[in-house]
Amino acid sequence: MDITRRRLLVLMPAAAVAWKYVLAGTPEASPNYKLTDHWWGMLLDITKCIGCGSCVRACAEENDVPDGYYRTWVERYHVEDWKIERPVVESPDGGKHGYLHEAAEGGKNFFVPKLCNHCVESPCTQVCPVGATFITPDGVVLVDKTYCLGCRYCIQACPYGCRSLNPKTNTAEKCSLCYHRITKGLTTACCEVCPTGARQLADLKNPKDPIHEFLRTHSVQVLKPYMATGAKVFYNGMDGSVR
């Protein structure tokens, strides 16, 4: 068949559509990973956190998070005596460089690492108008960058301030619980580098996961339980002033 100018003009869009379908094919990341076998969460032990900022640096490096943006960060609380409703909270550079300066005197001081709570009833997912944010069958809240419009509804909806708008892609930016790692059998970057074990990735569907024993034997909280978000990041030893 001769390719005339007319035929080429007809063929090109057809080829483009066909190629789009080829590209849409599902990439096979980890063939042995079954979505329905897991239900991910995390355990944060405030009694162990030393505020070194290793998690913040590791997260930025692992996930290519731009400077000044944080998928996880460490806050330092200062609570004076009975004033638990007025804590003084600081987080210079998200605690990325550790806390080398001393905390304020006259009260108690402690560190609180924060990240996406991967809520079961996640408010950010509920407000997304285009289905760009979703909860995977294994309980991780992810963003589909190719669908995100950058409308910022989710950033307003998150009660924990865990979302931002990536300035390079103009799409919603958030913790993916290192989904590319946990599906390969690795732990998250933050849990990997945490020197004191203050962060522990937890598979709530795995009966052998040590999280179950820990939850049975400790007083554990989630952030803002009154919001009924179904947060899956559990805090041990958390003071009532933390919000």
């Binding site: 070194c52 290793s54 490096e61 692992e62 001081n109 589909d144 390969k184 990997e192």
Partner: protein, 159 residues
């Protein structure tokens, strides 16, 4: 009795409607990704796309496969629980090609202080020093061996 005089109008209208419906169905099938709705109101393929990103941190199991000598030293001290990349940084590239990618030499004055600089917000049981008073500006590794930080006196007898 004939109910409508100009049935042709209705047929034309129906034809236009039918074309519109067909066009909608065809366009929708073409534009909505095939995996949309596979698990919920989102593009199912996005899960695998997120999962297929490369890792930056190799994980301590990977490091330990080769650096068994360091593992043996670490076992003798408290730093056994600290993963390699907590101090040395992300080194998946080194694990893939150990020859060409070499980890950077660390500045112990910076690395050690991040964890061990005294701070009242840290758990009281955690070993802390005011670095300025403790070492007088000397680098930490001039006395301590980072993989086994405790300094043993000769009487305690260790090599």
């Amino acid at each position: 009795m004939k109910r409508f005089k100009d049935t042709e109008h209705l047929i034309r209208l129906a034809a236009v409607m039918a074309i519109a419906v067909v066009a909608f169905v065809v366009l929708r099938a073409a534009l909505v990704p095939r995996s949309f709705g596979e698990y919920g109101h989102y593009r199912g393929a996005a899960i695998a796309e997120t999962a297929s990103r490369p890792v930056a941190f190799a994980g301590h199991q990977t490091c330990e496969a080769c650096h068994t000598d360091v593992v043996d030293v670490k076992k003798q001290g408290k730093h056994v629980v600290v993963a390699c990349e907590a101090c040395h940084g992300a080194l998946a590239t080194h694990a893939e090609d150990p020859g060409s990618v070499q980890p950077k030499k660390l500045d112990t004055a910076v690395v050690c202080a991040r964890c061990h600089e005294a701070n009242s917000a840290k758990p009281s049981g955690f070993p802390q020093v005011v670095t300025a008073d403790h070492s007088g500006g000397l680098a930490c590794d001039s006395c301590h061996q980072p993989h086994r930080p405790k300094i043993e006196t000769e009487t305690e007898g260790k090599k």
